[in-house]
Structure formats: C-alpha cells, structure tokens
C-alpha cells in the first residue's frame, strides 16, 4: 500500500519535473530566439533575409555586413561616445550618491529631513518631465553634441542616493565610533571604514547605471544630432531611418550595439541578477 503510494508520487514527481523542463525549455527558446535570429540574419545576404520561406542558414557567412556597418555609420566614434557617456555617468553617480547617501543615513544636521523628503518625491516623477528644461540647460552650457552633455544630468540621481542611503543605514554604529576613537575624521570614517562595507549595493548601482546609460534612447536622441557624436542607441535609430530596408546590415549593426552589454552580462550574470533583485527597482 505505502509502496504503491510512494511509487505513484514518484511517478507524479517524474511527470511534474518533465513538464517543468518542457515549459522552461520552450520558454527559454522563445526568449533567446530573437537573438539567434539576429545573429543568423546579420550573416546572411539581404535577399536571403527577404526570402520566402525564410532561409534558416545562409550557407556562406556574409561578414561583409559588418564591414558595411563601419562604412555607413561612424561606428567607432559612436562606440567611444557610448563608452564615455556610460563611464562618466557611472563615475559621477558613484561619487555623488555614496557621499549623499552617507550624509542622509549617518549624519544629523539641520534641514536633513526636509531635503530628503524632496529627494524621495523626485523618485515618483517620470523622467520625461525634466526633458525640455534639461535640454535648454545643456544648450546654454554649449554641451549639445557632446558626451558630457548627455551624461551630465545623469550624474545626479535621487534613486542612487536612496539606494546608497538604504545601504549605509543598515550598518552598526560601533564601527563609526571605533574609527573616531582611532582619530579618523568624518571623511576618513566614510571612505576607509564604511564605504568598503556596502560593496553589494555599490555593484547594484553600477550595474543599473551602466545598463541605463548604455541603452537609453530618448535623452541622447534629443541632445545629439551629429552622427559622429551620437551614442550607439541613437546611431542605430538613425541608421534605421536611413536604410530601413537594408535588413542584414541593420541586424549586424544592432548586434554590434548590444554585444558589449550582453557580453558583460554573460560574464557577470550572477552579479547582475543579484544586483537587480537587490535594488528591486530600475533606476
């Protein structure tokens, strides 16, 4: 009796886990299929791309599509712009948000609560609201068509401050007191003692900022108008406007534009997934 029961439950578990693998595998294929298709199409001729029924494998690989990307858009300028924007924005946020987060979490001073309430209220506002005035500021500063102009407003982030404040607020007070007894001043306490302890939050902030900065379209689309000053996202959108039927070249360009972040993700996937789950919110 019990044996029969156990056997039945084992068989049930067997079917259950088979279904689990089936569902996840089908789902996984649907999720990656566009990426595989992108790779195949970027290596096909345009007439293969437009063939009916579809050509699933080009036979001879057409690496010429990638060469054509380099001829049609200033790809390396745009790659450099994307890298520069991402690095500037991430570095700016790291410095400013850790400092401010520490100030809000661990220091007592006049006006703190009201200022922090203002920072929090910014979290609720959709970012497009700021777009027109930010554009006018960047224009007045003469920073249109520059990487700094694209990155500058992103140096400051209410979300980043909030994330860093939450990280610092969880640390025990004894550490600060011990540092003070050792003769460290406020900044040294922050930099040498407290900052190294919030590693996971910092890597979450870096990951989110890099992702957002690299992938963003609307803001850089507004700020950059010259092809050589555009980041890759805008360059790709512009290429699509000009050569909308040249699909194999478009696929090659879009593959090149996503590749850096995808490689970074695959290399650091554990960290990225944890970081995003940890922050629980996108920037």
């Amino acid at each position: 009796m019990t044996d029969a029961l156990r056997q039945r439950s084992r068989r049930r578990a067997g079917i259950g886990s088979f279904l689990t693998y089936l569902v996840l595998t089908i789902g996984g294929i649907v999720m990656v299929f566009p990426f595989l298709w992108q790779i195949v199409m970027s290596l096909s001729t345009n007439s293969q791309v437009m063939s009916v029924p579809p050509t699933f494998w080009p036979g001879q690989l057409q690496f010429g599509n990638f060469v054509e990307v380099f001829q049609k858009i200033p790809f390396f300028d745009q790659l450099w712009t994307s890298v520069l924007i991402t690095v500037l924005r991430t570095a700016g946020q790291l410095v400013l948000c850790t400092l401010a987060g520490y100030g809000f979490a661990r220091m007592q001073f006049r006006g703190k609560n009201i200022v922090f309430a203002l920072v929090l209220s910014l979290l609720m506002v959709p970012p497009q609201i700021y777009l027109i005035p930010q554009y006018l500021i960047i224009q007045d500063l003469g920073l249109l068509n520059t990487a700094l102009g694209v990155a500058l407003p992103g140096f400051f982030s209410a979300f980043g401050i909030f994330l860093m404040r939450q990280a610092f607020i969880g640390l025990p007070t004894e550490l600060e007191e011990a540092a003070r007894l050792d003769g460290a001043n406020v900044f040294q306490t922050f930099y040498r003692v407290m900052l190294p302890l919030i590693g996971p939050s910092i890597s979450a902030l870096i990951i989110i900022t890099v992702l957002w900065s690299w992938n963003d379209l609307l803001w850089p689309l507004v700020v950059t108008t010259r092809a050589e000053n555009m980041p890759l996202s805008v360059g790709l959108a512009a290429l699509q406007g000009q050569f909308s039927t040249d699909y194999s070249v478009l696929m090659a360009a879009s593959l090149l534009a996503t590749l850096p972040v995808l490689i970074l993700f695959l290399a650091l996937q554990r960290r990225v997934v944890q970081g995003l789950a940890f922050s629980g919110m996108k920037g």
Partner: protein, 326 residues
C-alpha cells in the same frame, strides 16, 4: 517584502528621531555644544551638498519650469510668450492625446499579462533540485539587458508582413499573416508582445527572490496536511507572494506607461501607422522636438505625471482593500 528593502516608503522612513540639538529648543544649549553642532551641520551639508545642488538644478527646478512652460507659447525662432490655459484647452480637444492615452493603457495591459507568466516561470525555476536553473535564468533575463532599440529592430524584421518569420510560422498552420507593424491596431499588439517579452526576465528575478524568502516549513506543513502542488501554489505561495507581486505590478505599470524606445524602433518615425499607435511619451517627444511646440509638450508632460500618479494611487488603494479582505 522581506528582501525588497529598498522600495520607497517615504512616510515610514522619515519618522526617524533626530538626535542632537534642534532649532527652536526652548533651553539655550551651552556654547561649546552649539559650535560642535554647527560643525556637524557643515560636514553633513558637505556630504549631501553636491548631489542635492545637482538635483535642484537638473530636476527640481526643471519641474517648476515645465509647469511654467505649459502656460506659454513658443515661437519658431525661440522666445516664448504667456498663453494662459491655451495649451490645456488644446490638450482636451486634441484627438491625438486621447488616442495616445488609449494606446498607452492597452500596451500596459498587454505587458501586465507577463506578470502571471513570470510567476509561473519563477516558481518553476525555483523548484529544488532543478538542473540548468542558472541557464534558464540567463535565457529569460537576456531580453531585459539588451538595448531596446536593437531588439525592437530584430522584432520588426520578424514581424515583417512579407518575409517575417512570424508570418512564416503562421503560414505553416495555413494562416496568412498580416502586415503587423504597419497596420493600426495590430502594430499596438506587436508592440505589446515585444514589451511583454522584454519585461518577463526582470519580473521573474524579483518574484524569484520573493519566493526564496517564503519559509520552507510552510510548504512542508502544507504537504503533511495532504495538499497537492496546485493547492499549495494557491494557498501558500500566492498569499505570501502578494507584497512582491504588488511591487512588480506597480513597477511594470510605471515602466510600461513610459514606453518610447521600443515603439520608436519597432515602427519607425515614418510609419503611417504611427499616429494611431503612438504612446503618450512619443506624442510628448514629437511635439517638443519635432514640431517644436515646447509649451504644448510641457502640458502633455504634466498630463503624463498626473496619469501615472493617479494609476499608482489607485493601485495602492486597491492593494489596501485587498489586504483588508485577507
């Protein structure tokens, strides 16, 4: 909410007792202490000052400016004049506003269909002893990491009416597929599918960590009581996951309401179906930077702020009622 410690909760977080002397204390503190407190204030402001100044210049003041711009009319060669409520009158009578609001809501509704899918995949991936869990996680998460413009271009090719793979698959079962991205109505559905595909990975990760925080003993107790897998899912997993689910729904809604990149690349600015498919943000963009009517665009931006605020408030309300019934 155990794991999601960083969800903004303004009211609760501010109620922290401030130590040290405060303004308006009736008893005058001795002089030495007051000097120390002002030194402390100096340190405090030195830490938050740079970031707060930037937030003021690039965010807080622009918020005020946008509100002001919404009452102005912009000339072709720059310069603006007071226009009263003209932009708001236009807002109420402009059919494009209603269309884009409707499109945004429909798109958001389609993307929200991904939340139950994310719950199912997350609970499957979290099953103990599952091999390849790491691989599945990576596969599901890839669309979220990839550049929206780039993946939208791939989908545009896949949705192509003449030679796209979607219609080729439909042809296998004998259906003649439509021109997805250039037919009004269908283009919105195609956009929703892409948005759903792109959002599942993130939601799955958040739900996964919510699931991992449910105590294992509860499952064991339910099993001892003789509950089956589906029963356990609905009477243990779902109720305990409710706070995480609520968070996921709110974030997905807010994000979906701001759809722009996917739309811009999936349809293309020149697409004849764009006016019937455009989202609120797209309308804002084209008024502000294509038609150069920045006053009107500012009014649209404020409408977006109000709509998102209202939707979020309704969700919080519903959640409270739901929680009370439980």
């Amino acid at each position: 909410m155990t794991r999601l410690t960083t969800v903004p909760r303004p009211a609760g977080d501010l109620r922290q007792p401030a130590a040290g002397p405060r303004a308006g204390t009736p008893v005058r503190p001795p002089r030495r202490r007051s000097r120390r407190s002002s030194q402390r204030s100096l340190w405090g402001w030195a830490f938050i000052g740079p970031a707060v100044a930037g937030l003021f210049v690039f965010y807080l003041w622009p918020l005020v400016q946008t509100a002001y711009f919404s009452f102005t009319k912009w000339g072709v060669f720059g310069g603006s004049t007071w226009a009263g409520i003209a932009n708001y009158q236009k807002l109420l009578s402009d059919p494009a506003v209603l269309t884009s609001l409707r499109n945004t809501i429909v798109y958001t509704a389609i993307v929200l269909l991904g939340v139950p899918i994310a719950v199912v995949t997350a609970s499957l991936i979290n099953r103990p002893g599952l091999r390849l869990a790491k691989l599945y996680r990576v596969l599901f998460f890839m669309p979220y990491v990839a550049m929206p413009v780039a993946v939208a271009l791939v989908w545009r090719l896949m949705f192509n009416g003449d030679f796209g793979i979607v219609n080729a698959a439909l042809a296998v079962v004998g259906v003649e597929g439509p021109h997805w991205t250039s037919t009004p109505g269908l283009a919105l559905v195609a956009l929703g599918v892409v948005g759903l595909w792109a959002s599942i990975g993130f939601n799955m990760i958040i739900i996964s960590s919510g699931l991992a925080s449910i105590p294992q003993e509860l499952y064991e107790a339910a099993q001892l009581d003789g509950a089956g897998g589906i029963r356990i899912f609905f009477s243990v997993t779902v109720p305990l996951l409710a706070p995480t689910l609520f968070f996921v729904v709110v974030i997905t809604t807010i994000t979906a309401f701001q759809v722009f990149d996917l739309l811009f690349a999936l349809l293309g600015a020149m697409n004849p179906a764009m006016p019937q498919t455009q989202s609120l943000i797209y309308l804002f963009y084209s008024e502000a930077f294509v038609s150069n009517d920045k006053g009107y665009a500012a009014a649209i931006a404020l409408l977006i702020l109000v709509v998102i605020g209202a939707v979020t408030a309704i969700q919080f309300r519903l959640q409270r009622r739901w929680a009370n019934i439980d």
